[in-house]
């Protein structure tokens, strides 16, 4: 199934040896197609997801093509594995997708190096919360817009918990309540079930903990919490491990990337997730899983509307205007959001929430409840962390793991983390 471009390529193969040819080719590829008025435009959009997301996104894009004759969209979809490698490599080849879905952790790396187009120019902000847009503004440019929002949540395996004659925490519950509950689960199950997965390595969990104490994980200047807060956090989990409430370190490590799998597998009774994952997780076990807000004193303390994923336009795109049209359509068009639904999280544009939430099942309804409550009472979303913060996230998990396996005390670990993180951020 060679496409028509291949034939051109095969001929070129004959002369591949000469570097001069390569250079001249580089010159002519970069001069082709500048998207004038009548010429048909071909955009490429990349995203990751599962087959359900691919299907609904494809139908939304079909709709877009219907409404905009002359523009076609190549659908470059994939799974999550390798997605970043692909985008980065294509950037270096001057061949990035025009529009793509992108995640928070690496956004700044691209935006601070001027690789993302300013969305404030061609995308309407009607119905958008100004604070929310501030979160993805880098160097004064709107580098990205949320393509779905979510918030932090906690899930409890109600079926398993009730079988033990216990009740899962709900509504307002504190970290101490969680600790007590977790230890009870371990005792009541005769040691076979942990009350909660050990979350001491999750910077996203610590972020809420820090916010509840009036601090933050990171801000634009780097670390934004005190060493004591971190030491307390790690001590909390050390106590839980000692009481048997938390999973043992080997099991924690096995489920490190996806702690909710430990609940699905029946290894732990509760864990943290993001609310947009809840429906999918419930679908993976016959047990009833309940969704609650985060533990902590005070209503929704420390939780915030978190961007689950972003939509961005590459500066390399030769069709900025058409690309902006596509982004505008996907984020602001009611019909588009009716098709897309809540698959990527809640729409950030208040005007399309209704269209998107039509047909939500009861799990999703529950997620909406939590989310709306956080919208009312929650903390502000953090501003973009400086470049290099990805390494700090990794470091957080690594140091925490050394505490889990007893190689470091919580206090020493906190001290070590502060020093190493500071050196990574330079």
């Amino acid at each position: 199934m060679f496409t028509h471009r291949n034939r051109k390529g095969l001929k070129l193969a004959a002369v591949v040896a000469s570097a001069a040819v390569m250079l001249s080719l580089a010159a002519c590829t970069s001069s082709e197609g500048d998207g004038d008025s009548d010429e048909p435009i071909e955009l490429r959009m990349a995203w990751w997801g599962d087959d359900v997301r691919h299907e609904i996104t494809n139908s939304a894009l079909d709709k877009f093509e219907d409404l905009n004759p002359g523009i076609t969209v190549v659908r470059d979809f994939s799974g999550f594995d390798g997605y970043l490698d692909k985008i980065t490599t294509q950037y270096t080849g001057g061949n990035s997708p025009d529009v793509f879905q992108f995640y928070n952790e690496v956004l700044v790396e691209f935006a601070s190096r001027g690789q993302l187009a300013d969305l404030s120019k061609g995308v309407s902000q009607d119905g958008w919360d100004a604070d929310l847009l501030q979160v993805s503004t880098v160097d004064g440019e709107l580098a990205a817009m949320p393509f779905g929002l979510s918030t932090q949540g906690f899930i409890f395996d109600t079926t398993a918990i009730e079988a033990l004659g216990l009740t899962a925490p709900s509504g307002d519950y504190s970290w101490d309540d969680l600790a007590e509950f977790a230890a009870e689960v371990r005792t009541a199950s005769g040691g076979s079930l942990a009350g909660v997965t050990d979350l001491s390595h999750g910077y996203q969990v610590f972020e809420v903990w820090a916010k509840q104490r009036g601090e933050d994980f990171m801000d634009a200047d780097g670390l934004a919490f005190s060493e004591k807060t971190l030491a307390d956090f790690w001590q909390y989990w050390a106590d839980l491990r000692a009481s048997g409430g938390a999973t043992t370190p080997d099991i924690t490590s096995e489920y490190q990337g996806t702690p909710y799998d430990a609940v699905v597998a029946g290894v732990a009774a509760s864990t943290f997730l993001f609310t947009n994952q809840y429906d999918g997780v419930q679908g993976r076990t016959p047990n009833v899983i309940s969704l609650e807000r985060f533990p902590g004193e005070g209503e929704d303390a420390g939780q915030y509307m978190r961007t689950a994923m972003n939509l961005v336009i590459s500066k390399q795109s030769k069709h900025q205007e058409a690309a902006a049209k596509l982004v505008d359509f996907l984020l602001n068009n009611e019909e588009a959001n009716g098709i897309l639904g809540l698959n990527r999280g809640f729409p950030a544009n208040a005007n399309v929430i209704e269209a998107a939430s039509a047909g939500a099942n009861e799990n999703v309804q529950r997620a909406i409840e939590i989310f709306e409550s956080v919208r009312e009472n929650g903390a502000p979303a953090p501003v973009p962390a400086p470049a290099g913060s990805g390494t700090v996230n990794t470091l957080f998990a690594e140091v925490a793991q050394q505490v889990q396996f007893g190689q470091l005390s919580p206090a020493d670990a906190a001290k070590q983390f502060m020093a190493q993180a500071a050196s990574e951020l330079g």
């Binding site: 080997d250 099991i251 096995e254 490190q256 390494t391």
Partner: protein, 276 residues
Amino acid sequence: MIGFFVITLGPMLYSLYLSFTDFSMLAAPEWVGFDNYIKLFTNDPKYLDAVRVTLVYVLVSVPLQLAFALAVAMVLNRGLRGLSLYRSVYYLPSLIGASVAVAVLWRQMFGSNGLINQILDWFGIEGMSWIGNPETALGTLVILNVWTFGSPMVIFLAALRQVPQYLYEAAAVDGISRWGSFRHITLPMLSPIVLFNLILQMIGAFQAFTPAFVVSGGTGGPVNSTLFYTLYLYQRGFTGFQMGYASAMAWILFVVIALVTAVNFWFSKYWVHYDD
């Protein structure tokens, strides 16, 4: 040869250049001289972890895998009914050994709910998560490597077929034991291929990436116990946006592998038998 120069040598030299730069992939590389190399050896404890893990992996998994592959190849060479069926079945794991499914499948073997723990449970032994324990995680990856022994096995099988049958016949007449004919006929005749498998599997083990990446979810954990060299290189290059640093790591590995391979070739004079 032309292909070699354009498609491989060019990019190789370019990456050598990159190893002397600070290159984020999103901006032009900046020349920094030997900074990357200096930092690797003086200011990067994780790098030394990666070196240690990789050396252990190479030294343990390569001999194990080769011995296993040769043993199975000998058994599956001839003399039993249904051999082609066995060969195919034994090759099956290698068909899937590199796929994303392995992460999940390995958890079914060595996870806390895995097959191993179920078997231990029959004997009343309480298991643990073998892939989640820093003491055993690397061991499960060694087993994963041995599990996908299909490639060297096939190569051994092909080579066994090149050993002239009359040599064994002659040996039998002389009353040489099976072990004796293995030592004096099979091994010498197979030695060029043993060398091939040894060198290639060593190179492969030095560069092992996929098993650790999929089983640890890209972290190299627990506690860096499966942080293979190329996994760390990947973390630095693609997740940390430090491709210059990663290139420096790659070139150090290149030199090490080249030295090890050269030593292998040099020693091969003493045990590899060629006809030419």
